[in-house]
């Protein structure tokens, strides 16, 4: 923890910011230089960075973090419907609501540790998911999802299908059709949407870095390392854990709000357990407990998803056209299992490979490479000298 100086941290942050903001150019050669995908890099990167504050530092594995993502989306869309399409209030409100929600779920779940904690969070997330489709339809609009609608003409009878946007109305904003979320007049889709998410990602990374280097962060690591010792050292781990849980829930809420800012439609499928599992994969793939790893993991998964899920049988046939007919069909048949809708199979394989050969994730891979280079460099120097 003292390995890095404040100066090194600022340099890291500056490089990170420069990279994130230049992704539209630097990632263009690998076919990732368009806004829809880069928005996902930034948003899911934030989600994973926040998740890692809980999982990476304390070792408590939550299997229900998608619930906070979903809550963030719903909260943001409600602000769009009731107050204003400006993104700022929506983001703030979503983060607060997700934080409150996380405080409630965390308070109960953190009474247990280990696998029981994981199961409790999973159970709560599934409950939220089911409630969103049943009892809570007046808030979530069930399977249709919650959307921004036209302004109500006359008295409002149905807040799901008639919007009021009190703040915008009061400010005298003219609306033609259904408005999109904006930032003081700049519409938040496409590139502006990406840059908004990117700035949030950089801010999120900065906050995570502060937490990592603070005494709070050190206590969280101590919880992961030896809770017994910590207890007999005069520390009460429970409020530290709850704080970490709430903070990571707020990151998830922010990510959910950004999804809504970019596409103002909130549905319960965002809360499904597969979404909770995905953020676990992202974090482990990138490197648990590292600052940069979770973002890399998120970007890698979204990138791979984008590529593999877009491949269809026609593309496969074209790729393997050089094979003799019978063989070509067989190869396409097999490869077809791993692409399109079946891309999760590829993800599973990738995950297995990384966990088996690089348990520390991509970050461990980079470290090994660095060491290899340094050793090579050293050998060179010797030979020359």
């Amino acid at each position: 923890m003292f390995g890095k100086t404040a100066r090194q941290d600022w340099i890291f942050l500056a490089i990170f910011a420069a990279f994130v903001l230049s992704m539209p150019v630097t990632l263009a050669p690998i076919g990732a230089g368009y806004p829809d995908l880069l928005q996902k890099f930034a948003i899911y990167g934030l989600f994973a960075i926040g998740f890692n504050i809980l999982f990476g530092l304390t070792g408590y594995l939550s299997f229900g973090h998608a619930a906070f993502l979903g809550v963030g989306s719903y909260a943001a869309v409600w602000v769009f419907k009731l107050l204003t399409v400006n993104a700022v209030p929506a983001v703030i409100f979503a983060v607060l609501v997700a934080g409150l929600f996380a405080a409630a779920i965390g308070y109960v779940s953190l009474r247990r540790a280990g696998i029981y904690f994981s199961i409790l969070t999973l159970a709560f997330a599934q409950m939220s998911y089911n409630l969103a489709y049943s009892v809570l339809t007046p808030l979530t609009n069930g399977e249709t999802g919650l959307q921004v609608q036209l302004l109500a003409q006359g008295p409002v009878t149905d807040y799901i299908n008639q919007d009021v946007r009190i703040l915008d109305q009061w400010l005298g904003v003219k609306e033609v059709g259904v408005p999109s979320p904006s930032l003081f007049g700049i519409e938040m889709s496409g590139w502006p949407g990406f840059y908004f998410a990117a700035v949030m990602l950089i801010a999120g990374m900065f906050i995570a870095q502060r937490i990592f280097r603070s005494s709070f962060g050190m206590m969280l690591r101590a919880i992961k390392s030896n809770q017994t010792r910590l207890n007999y050292t005069g520390v009460n781990p429970r409020p530290y854990l709850l704080a970490a849980f709430v903070i990571s829930g707020m990151y998830a809420g922010l990510a959910g709000a950004l999804l809504a800012v970019i596409d103002p439609l909130a549905g319960a499928e965002r809360m499904q357990w597969t979404a909770s599992g995905e953020v676990v994969l992202m974090t482990i793939l990138g490197g648990v407990g590292t600052l940069l790893g979770p973002f890399l993991g998120a970007a890698l998964i979204k990138y791979a998803e984008n590529i593999f899920s877009a491949i269809n049988e026609k593309i496969l046939h074209a790729t393997f056209a050089w094979l003799p007919d019978g063989l070509q069909n067989a190869v396409v048949e097999i490869a077809g299992l791993f692409v399109g809708k079946g891309w999760h199979l590829t993800l599973g394989l990738l995950f297995m490979l990384i966990v088996i050969f690089l348990p520390g994730g991509l970050m461990e891979g980079f470290e090994r490479l660095m060491r290899l280079f340094r050793r090579r460099g050293g050998a060179h120097a010797e030979r020359e000298g």
């Binding site: 390392s225 030896n226 207890n231 050292t233």
Partner: protein, 252 residues
């Protein structure tokens, strides 16, 4: 002298096993009080009853006149009681310095303080003290190593340092020299003597009679869950009851 720690009529059973039975003990302020006794006598169990790891079935324990039973472990530590465990409990994944910073922060900040923004700096009071204590226990050179890499004896010394940085009023030591070489044992005896001068009350459990007789002001002998003798080292050495129950084959 007043008793800082008073144990009255403590009983503890595990199922049918009577681990502690009618245990009474007064520990006087500033003294080194040794508890000796054969394996399985209940020595560690008694310490567990003091620090909130176990709740006695019966009896009271008071520290500076305040009851301990029913308090949470972290509350008891915040009252000024620190313990070295029989098997070292340290933060294996963290460096030695970090291992020391955590108890130091716990002492400064109490059981919980949300300090998520300020950087833990290399310079600063706590860090200086951590360095100083590492120096004192002879681990300064390894300060940036991960503590899992330490030898068993060094882990023990690290744990002792983690307790000392909190400046406890009462230090409970469960076999602090087990697994140490003769030289390391003597170093630890010297260290414990030195910190004795600062007026920390110590309860020390030890099988090594060399350590016991070098340090203890008072000795209590625990056998099969109850105390069979209390006294000054010389009295204990010559007590036939003790020799029969415990010292039998051991040269003292």
């Amino acid at each position: 002298m007043a008793a800082v720690l008073r144990i009255e009529d403590v009983h503890k059973s595990f199922g049918g096993l009577r681990a502690l039975w009618e245990v009474n003990l007064d520990v006087e302020e500033g003294r080194v009080h040794a508890i000796i006794g054969p394996n399985g006598a209940g020595k560690s169990t008694l310490l567990n009853c003091l620090i909130g790891r176990l709740t006695p079935d019966r009896g009271t324990v008071t520290f500076e006149g305040r009851p301990l039973i029913g308090r949470k472990p972290h509350e008891i530590n915040q009252m000024g009681i620190a313990r070295v465990f029989q098997t070292p409990e340290i933060f294996e994944e963290l460096t030695l310095l970090e291992n020391l910073m955590i108890p130091a922060m716990a002492k400064r900040d109490g059981a919980f303080r949300l300090n998520a923004w300020r950087r833990v700096t290399r310079r600063g009071e706590l860090m200086e003290e951590a360095e100083h204590i590492l120096e004192e226990v002879g681990l300064a050179e390894q300060r940036h190593r991960v503590s899992a890499a330490l030898s068993r004896g060094d882990k023990r010394r690290l744990e002792l340092a983690m307790c000392l940085i909190q400046h406890p009023k009462l230090l409970l030591l469960d076999e602090p020299t087990a697994g140490m070489s003769r030289a390391d044992t003597n170093n630890t005896i010297d260290l414990l003597k030195r910190i004795g001068e600062k007026g920390i009350t110590k309860v020390i459990i030890e099988h090594d009679m060399h350590v016991v007789f070098s340090l203890a002001d008072t000795i209590s002998v625990l056998a099969r869950g109850t105390f069979i003798a209390h006294g000054k080292p010389d009295e204990i050495r010559n007590d036939p009851k003790v020799q029969e129950a415990y010292l039998g084959g051991v040269e003292a």
